[in-house]
């Protein structure tokens, strides 16, 4: 039975839409301050070297105010989300192209750009390694410490060797995924300035202001109270704003010069500065019984971490945990490795390791179905997770597992819809489906806490505080809706403050699809507490007036509270369920909740050129409960676009660690002309522990796109694509066995 909900479940207009359609929303590059000066970053041009830096000529250039290098870092010359293995400025050893060497600050941006060319860097070239499989060898050049393998996740369940012996069908293949970029539209930028009490303020587009504050404080040698991070409007993130870019450089310059300092990256520098998606090399073998029951899987995943760890451990762990797909397999052995190379560093990107593995497991599902002559949908239904299933880590899926519904909905919709135009000569059409699951949150026992506060204001509204960033996903709207629901007030009576570390509690990062679930819960609890307090206080006020009062407005209630010297305010924290997995077996309950999806796709392939068009996509997405259905659809449509583009086009062309295509004329993302019709099917199955049942979907919406398209290409052509992107030449090679032409 559906509870009575007033605000949750309605497609309220975005609370940030008006300022965005009028051009009034301020992104960091839009901010101008009196006396502002400009910074420009010098970055390494070699992938592995020792450097010496001579900044004298740049410093002498007219208009230059400072040239900051490693020697100028007041605190610790490092940062990093897991290991502190990024340097603020290189102290001598370069491990990849693009590492910051110096930050030149000048009276104008033009002078800073000019002067940065005068910083002399001498490179003594060192050996380098660019393939993670080579980097794992004992004779490979080392990047950090005594091994390039920075993490090995082991998942062990049942007896894989014995299990394969009794399988009736076994499929086996190698898969490779490409390195890709987030390509958010707003290049990195920021402004820093000093407040009178010595606090340094950084205005920046980030995913996690509170963590930035910690990292900035450590590098500047300041206490966290002396660092204030204010989140501006954020022009897309997708994981690419998790790691520090402009923040520390700007703060250092503002502190040194006591003037506001701004920097804006060019698109090319943006490609150099932030993380990339981990390319993965996946060997996978899956076995099933004659009747289609999955029985064994063995996989090895090697992820290229590039030169710095960033989130590599969590990402390769997430890949390993999700390797089986959303299917019950009693015997599983997975080894996943994160490996340093001299490539650009890789990190968080939508899907976070759970995005690469479906390319392997969902193609193997179709292969098993083909070998056993079972319908691909039937095979999936036979094995798919349901409430009560155990995952390969031994985790019990207690509830909200509507995978079967998503599968049936996607399969039905794609089977009845079909391109009606007659097929032209030289073209083939095919359909494919794929299913995925995704575990929300940091995972593996890492404390996953979202704090929130709510208070009654003089205007009779409720101000809600949460340090959750609006990166475009709609957090500000969805969290406001949750607050309004819990407070039993209208959406317009809620004012969500989420931009300033001085005002807001830490609500964790805008990543891991965790804000709706985690921070939504924190806000729900805080607002329910406040509502109860308001009701109690209303009764108190009413009683004092002889219970004659029929209604008291929130505005009057505020005045009554002030008269009594009371502040009507509540605070709450929500901690997600997660436990640390066993180091040797990977057994445990790493994430909660899980979100499910199944997509169906129809493609048309030109059998001469291999060019593939997606004609239609149906996306059945589990959301627990849709807080805002239009925003959910927006996520699905955008997620499918990103997944489709990765499947068919996107790849950073790397040559000895150098990105060749670092602009939008060579790094192609989809336009309005490339998109097919997308039919969103929202599947609801409320999760008890979630705010009004709502689970996060920011990442899950992308994951089924890739394998659904690849399965459709195979259906059309018979060709199995095992290396992304499924470019025309890759498809031609798979169809005819021709050698792939060099890029």
């Amino acid at each position: 039975m559906k509870p009575m909900l007033n605000t949750v479940g309605k497609s309220a207009f975005r609370v940030d839409a008006r300022e965005k359609v009028t051009g009034k929303a301020l992104y960091p590059s839009d901010i101008v301050m009196d006396g502002m000066v400009y910074g420009c970053t010098l970055r390494s041009e070699k992938p592995s070297a020792e450097i010496t830096v001579d900044k004298s000529a740049a410093l002498a250039y007219p208009g230059v105010l400072a040239v900051l290098t490693a020697e100028d870092v007041p605190g610790a010359n490092h940062h990093g989300v897991l290991f502190k293995d990024h340097e603020v400025f290189s102290s001598g050893r370069i491990r990849s192209i693009g590492e910051p060497v110096a930050f030149v600050v000048a009276e104008t941006a033009a002078i800073a750009r000019q002067a940065v060319k005068l910083v002399k860097v001498e490179y003594k070239i060192l050996p380098a390694v660019f393939d993670p499989r080579e980097a794992m060898q004992s004779d490979a050049p080392l990047l950090h410490g005594d091994s390039n393998i920075l993490y090995h996740y082991k998942l062990r369940r049942g007896d894989v060797e014995k299990a394969f012996e009794v399988c009736d069908v076994i499929v086996e293949n190698h898969y490779e995924t490409s390195m890709v970029d987030h390509a958010f539209l707003q290049p990195e930028a920021g402004v820093a300035y000093m407040e009178e009490d010595g606090t340094v303020v950084i205005l920046v587009a980030t995913q996690y202001p509170h963590f930035d504050r910690e990292e900035i404080a450590e590098a500047l040698g300041l206490s966290q109270e002396k660092v204030r991070v204010i989140t501006t409007a954020v022009g897309g993130a997708f994981g690419g704003r998790e790691d520090i870019t402009v923040q520390i450089h700007l703060a250092m310059a503002a502190m040194k010069l006591m003037r506001p300092v701004k920097t804006v990256y060019t698109r090319e520098e943006s490609f150099l500065a932030h993380s990339k998606r981990h390319p993965m090399y996946i060997k996978c073998r899956t076995g099933a019984k004659k009747d289609g029951t999955l029985y064994a899987m063995e996989a090895e995943i090697i992820g290229d971490a590039g030169a710095h760890a960033s989130w590599a451990i969590n990402i390769l762990r997430k890949a390993g945990v999700h390797m089986t797909g959303p299917y019950v397999i009693p015997n599983v052995k997975v080894d996943s490795y994160a490996v340093y190379t001299n490539n650009p560093f890789t990190g968080a990107m939508r899907g976070f390791g759970a995005a690469q593995v479906p390319i392997a497991y969902e193609q193997q599902m179709d292969e098993i179905a083909r070998k056993l002559n079972i319908n691909p949908l039937e095979l999936r239904l036979k094995n798919c997770f349901r409430a009560g299933s155990l995952t390969a880590t031994g985790q019990l899926l207690e509830e909200s597992v509507p995978l079967e519904r998503t599968l049936r909905a996607a399969a039905q919709a794609i089977s009845r819809s079909g391109e009606e135009a007659p097929l032209k000569a030289g073209k083939k059409r095919g359909k494919g489906i794929a299913a995925i699951f995704y575990g929300t949150g940091y995972g593996n026992g890492f404390p996953d806490v979202s704090r929130a506060a709510a208070e009654l204001t003089e205007e009779g509204k409720v101000r809600v505080f949460a340090g959750a960033t609006e990166v475009g996903q709609g957090a500000k709207t969805v969290l406001s809706q949750i607050a309004a629901e819990a407070l039993e007030v209208s959406l317009s009576d809620v004012v969500l403050v989420c931009e300033d570390t001085r005002l807001t509690p830490d609500s964790g990062t805008a990543a891991a699809s965790r804000q709706t679930y985690n921070t939504g819960n924190g806000i729900r609890i805080a607002c329910e507490k406040l509502r109860i307090e308001l009701q109690a206080f209303t009764a108190e006020v009413s009683e004092a007036q002889g219970n004659l009062l029929k209604h008291i407005s929130l505005k009057d209630l505020y005045q009554a509270a002030i008269a009594k010297g009371r502040l009507l305010r509540s605070e709450a924290a929500f901690t997600a369920r997660t436990s640390r997995m066993d180091d040797e077996t990977g057994q445990g309950a790493p994430y909660w909740p899980y979100t499910f999806a199944a997509y169906g796709v129809e493609v048309e392939v030109d059998i001469e050129t291999g060019k593939t068009d997606v004609l239609k996509a149906v996306c059945a997405q589990d959301v627990g409960r849709a807080v805002n259905p239009v925003l959910v659809e927006g996520q699905i449509e955008g997620g499918f676009a990103m997944g489709m583009s990765w499947t068919l086009h996107e790849e950073l062309g790397l040559e000895e660690g150098r990105i060749k295509n670092r602009n939008f004329s060579k790094y192609i993302i989809p336009t309005a002309l490339d998109m097919p019709e997308i039919e969103s099917i929202i599947v609801e199955d409320p999760e008890t522990s979630a705010p009004y049942g709502a689970k996060g979907i920011g990442e899950p919406v992308m994951l089924a796109a890739m394998p659904a398209i690849l399965n459709a290409i195979c259906d059309a052509t018979g060709a199995r694509i095992t290396r992304l992107p499924a470019s025309p030449q890759e498809i031609v090679k798979a169809m005819y066995g021709k050698e792939r032409k060099a890029l």
């Binding site: 497609s11 207009f13 975005r14 940030d16 839409a17 008006r18 300022e19 965005k20 359609v21 009028t22 051009g23 009034k24 929303a25 301020l26 992104y27 590059s29 839009d30 101008v32 987030h182 390509a183 958010f184 539209l185 707003q186 290049p187 409007a233 954020v234 022009g235 897309g236 993130a237 997708f238 804006v264 060019t266 698109r267 990166v471 475009g472 996903q473 709609g474 239009v630 925003l631 659809e633 927006g634 449509e637 955008g638 997620g639 499918f640 676009a641 990103m642 602009n663 939008f664 004329s665 993302i669 989809p670 336009t671 309005a672 002309l673 998109m675 997308i678």
Partner: protein
């Protein structure tokens, strides 16, 4: 050089460097930061403005080329506190996510509707083909433009 141009129906007389781009004239000289820079080479369309009725990438237009021209930017759409039909439609249809492409997207759509008040879907998609959006997959943007055209 001295530059005279009309921006959002106001005549401006400005002293600007010879090599300045229209984008910088708008953002830096006039403080109209609603026009965004996403790539600086005419690939992303975030800086789209309307110049004498045509959608142009302001990053590819030199200030001198805008002399005496009539420029319309996102800031010029709202009249007497009332949003343009397109702006309203973008809000209603959920066509906005991160918002960085939004001003340029709306200006491309505006230029389309100025010359073709009743475009079909293919014409809409063509008109915004030079505007990249990484968030939405374009579906709701196309819907929003369709709905605005029907008003």
């Amino acid at each position: 050089m001295l530059l005279e141009l009309h921006v959002n129906e106001r005549l401006h007389s400005l002293e600007v460097p010879d090599d300045m781009r229209l984008l910088d004239v708008l953002r830096e000289k006039l403080g109209l930061t609603g026009t965004k820079e996403g790539c600086g080479e005419g690939e992303c369309g975030a800086c789209t403005v309307i110049m004498d009725g045509l959608a142009v990438n302001a990053c590819l237009v030199l200030a001198a080329q805008a002399r005496d021209k009539h420029i319309l930017t996102i800031e010029g759409l709202e009249k007497n506190n009332e949003l343009d039909q397109l702006q309203q439609s973008f809000i209603k249809n959920g066509a906005v996510q991160c918002g960085f492409c939004t001003p340029g997207m709306i200006m491309s759509a505006k230029a389309l509707l100025m010359r073709n008040p009743h475009p079909n879907e293919a014409e809409i998609r063509n008109a915004i083909a030079g505007n990249l959006c990484r968030c939405t997959g374009y579906a709701k943007i196309v819907e929003a433009i369709k709905e605005a055209a029907e008003q």
